[in-house]
Each structure stands twice: as structure tokens, then as C-alpha cells.
């Protein structure tokens, strides 16, 4: 009887220790889980974190930008799928820019498969791609007077509004050309253009433990095992205590009856 009580106390003590350990993780999982259930309300899906250390942690290589495109007062640099215009990130998930032209109060940025039109203050007017472009891939962008020019393998095309295009013969076109960025500047700019991780992705990976790679999964496995132990020990403690109380009460009743 004494041994049974000792085992029950031991089990209860360990149940408590495992419970406290699990509670820390459960609290963390509950908080991150609630946040993940409301990513839109908390705008976690829209908030993107540009941090070289985080990109490296995710195994994303931070490519330093090699060239920049200058046009009047604007300076465009592209790297790691993002564009920096006058030191401000204006686009993400975009291809490397081929050039930039300012024409008729608009700023045009070309990639191999798209033409992005921005207002001078940086608002996106339209992304033109596919068959809305005269031919693909785009090889270069330039200006001839008030006309925007695109160079493609099938020729040079001119437009004034990026809606209608007409084939044009080469004349005095001022083509946008990249200029090499000094190596001393590349690292500073690379930090601004580090591949972005969305706050939602980060939270989801922290929640699941995948942020720590294989070790994260092992930690979560251990937490799951602790919960299994908690479940089993809880059931055992509950039934043993219940039986112990019943026996004590039964013994008490018998003792009272014997008086």
C-alpha cells in the first residue's frame, strides 16, 4: 500500500514537471496559432521582412546588385527579385530590370517579359505583359522624342501609351544602359534588397518548428511525446487517486460502522 502511494506521488510529481514544460510550448503554440488564424486581420501576409541574416537563415543567397540605371533624377537598382528606386523598394517578385526610361510624365521599366509603367512619384500605373507587348523577349528599352521604344528579336517597336505599338526603324534612340555599381556600394545596397520573408511565413515556420530545420522538428516531436506522457500519466493519476479516495472513504465508513 505504501509503495503504491509512493508511486502515485512520484507519477504526480513528474506529471507536474512535464505539465509545466508542455505549458510553455502550448502557450507559445496557442499564441502563434491564433495569430496564424488571423493573418489577414493582423496584416502578417502583407508585412515583409528584408533582413540579410534572415535570408541567410532561410538559405536564400543574397545576390549583390551589379548595375544601376539612372534616368534624370531617378536611380533604379534591381537584385534578389526586388527593385530599389531612389533607395525605396517599389516592387517585389519581379525580374531583373533591363532599363528605365522617363517619358511624358511616366517612368517605364522593362524586364525580359514585362513593361512596368509608374508615375513619377512611384505609383504603379500598369504592368504590361504577354500579348499586350509587341514581341518577346524584350531586349532593351529606350526613348526617341516622345516615343517609348522597345527592342526585341523581331525588331524595334514604338509607342506613346504602351497600348498601341508600331514597328519602327532604328534612328536616334537613346537606349537605357546599366552602369556598374562600385563594389564598395554593392554590400550596402544588397542589404536593402535582401530577399524578403513574409511575417506570415516566418510565424508559420516558428509555430511548426521548421525555422530550426531538422532540429525544430525533433523539438516538436519531443513536445508531442511529452504531451503523450502527460496524457497517460494524467489518466493513471486520475484513476489511481479516484480508487485511493474510494478505498479511503470505504475504509472510513467501515471504521465508523465498527464503532
Amino acid at each position: 500500500m505504501k509503495r503504491k502511494v509512493y508511486l502515485l506521488l512520484l507519477l504526480r510529481r513528474w506529471h507536474g514537471r512535464f505539465g509545466v514544460t508542455a505549458a510553455i510550448f502550448l502557450l507559445f503554440l496557442a499564441c502563434t496559432g491564433v495569430a496564424l488564424n488571423h493573418t489577414q486581420q493582423f496584416r502578417l501576409d502583407a508585412y515583409r521582412i528584408h533582413a540579410p541574416w534572415l535570408a541567410r537563415w532561410y538559405g536564400l543567397k543574397v545576390e549583390p546588385p551589379t548595375q544601376e540605371f539612372a534616368e534624370k533624377r531617378a536611380l533604379l537598382i534591381g537584385a534578389n527579385g526586388a527593385w530599389l528606386l531612389n533607395d525605396k523598394v517599389i516592387a517585389e517578385n519581379v525580374a531583373a530590370p533591363l532599363g528605365m526610361v522617363e517619358s511624358q510624365g511616366m517612368r517605364y521599366i522593362a524586364t525580359a517579359d514585362s513593361l512596368y509603367i509608374y508615375t513619377i512619384d512611384g505609383q504603379l500605373v500598369e504592368k504590361v505583359s504577354g500579348s499586350s507587348l509587341p514581341a518577346l523577349p524584350v531586349l532593351g528599352i529606350g526613348a526617341a522624342g516622345s516615343q517609348l521604344m522597345l527592342r526585341t528579336p523581331s525588331g524595334i517597336y514604338a509607342t506613346s501609351d504602351a497600348v498601341g505599338w508600331k514597328a519602327d526603324s532604328p534612328r536616334s534612340v537613346s537606349w537605357s544602359r546599366g552602369v556598374l555599381i562600385p563594389q564598395s556600394e554593392q554590400a550596402r545596397i544588397a542589404a536593402r534588397l535582401a530577399p524578403a520573408i513574409s511575417a506570415e511565413t516566418l510565424l508559420r515556420d516558428v509555430h511548426s518548428g521548421r525555422i530550426f530545420g531538422a532540429y525544430g522538428a525533433i523539438i516538436m516531436d519531443i513536445v508531442a511525446l511529452i504531451l503523450v506522457v502527460l496524457g497517460v500519466s494524467g489518466v493513471v493519476v486520475f484513476f489511481r487517486s479516484h480508487r485511493h479516495h474510494s478505498e479511503s472513504r470505504h475504509a472510513g465508513i467501515n471504521a465508523d460502522a465498527g464503532r
Binding site: 508542455a22 504603379l124 500605373v125 500598369e126 508559420r204 511548426s208 502527460l230 486520475f238
Partner: protein
């Protein structure tokens, strides 16, 4: 003793697999335009003025991503290729509007990891003949799909924007 909520959390932990975004092209937008007209008309553009931007922002819940919208029209019907994020990735949908009513809608490109059931004709048929009410709502209720709530909501918003843009284009 662990409570039910503990097990719910463990289940959630196990099931929260990393979402992998896959781009599924159900119909090339160019083909959608050609199918609507039999041939491909010249594109037109609609500039979104400040009041139009405000109205679209009210419909979408966020400002429009661009200031100019391209569309195709032949005097009777207009075609709008629009994009909206369901949960994480943009859904590209095409809408054919005739006389202020949705003639048909189609999911052209789907990039989300879940909820692609919105591409099924049985769901999209609900949009047929829908018009825009005075408070910029659809004239008919759209039944949702379990597990595709955000995609359904995105398509509903896009349908309203398409009808609104069609109305604007007719005023031009």
C-alpha cells in the same frame, strides 16, 4: 491531464504542412479574350480616377494595385482580366460583361495552395446574370465552398470590380 485543446493544438501542429504555391493555368488569358469575341479586339484602357480608386478600395478592402486597367470591348460586351489575392497569391480571373450583367466568369490562373475548387463551372455559374446593386454588391448571393472561403471571397470581390469597371467604361 491534457485537455482537448492540447490535442487540437497537436493536431494543428501535425497538419500545418508548409504551403507550396503552385501556378495552375486553367485557360490562357489571351484565349479567354479571343473566345469571348471570336477574334481579339484592340485593348482599351480605363484610368482610375480618385473616386474610382476609392470605390474599388471599398470593394476590395485595399487600394487597387494599379492606376490603369486594360480591357477589351466591342460595344456589346466587355472583357476584364483581373487579379486579387485569395490568401497569399493572386488569382487571375476573367469576366465577360454584357449589358451590365456577368455573361460568364472563369478562373484563368490559380496560384494558391488551397481553394482551387473555385475553378469549377458549377461554382462559377452562380455569377451568371449577376448585376451590381447601388451599394456595389452582387445582385445575387454566391454560395461558398468549404475550405475555399478566401478564394470565393476574392472572386466575389473581383466580380463586383469587373461590373463596376464595366459601368465606368460605358460612361466614358
Amino acid at each position: 491531464m491534457p485537455k482537448l485543446s492540447d490535442w487540437v493544438l497537436i493536431s494543428f501542429l501535425t497538419l500545418s504542412a508548409h504551403a507550396v504555391a503552385l501556378e495552375q493555368i486553367y485557360q490562357d488569358p489571351e484565349v479567354f479574350i479571343s473566345d469571348a469575341f471570336g477574334t481579339r479586339p484592340q485593348p482599351k484602357v480605363l484610368w482610375l480616377t480618385s473616386p474610382a480608386q476609392a470605390e474599388i478600395a471599398r470593394i476590395l478592402g485595399h487600394p487597387p494595385t494599379q492606376l490603369r486597367q486594360r480591357y477589351w470591348a466591342d460595344g456589346i460586351k466587355s472583357v476584364w482580366i483581373l487579379e486579387e489575392i485569395g490568401k497569399e497569391e493572386p488569382i487571375t480571373a476573367g469576366f465577360v460583361i454584357a449589358n451590365g450583367r456577368i455573361d460568364h466568369a472563369r478562373v484563368l490562373v490559380y496560384r494558391e495552395s488551397r481553394g482551387s475548387e473555385v475553378r469549377y463551372p458549377s461554382f462559377l455559374r452562380q455569377f451568371k446574370d449577376a448585376t451590381l446593386t447601388s451599394d456595389a454588391q452582387l445582385s445575387r448571393a454566391i454560395d461558398g465552398i468549404s475550405g475555399a472561403t478566401l478564394s470565393v471571397s476574392a472572386l466575389e470581390r473581383l466580380a463586383r470590380v469587373a461590373l463596376y469597371l464595366d459601368r465606368l467604361s460605358r460612361r466614358q
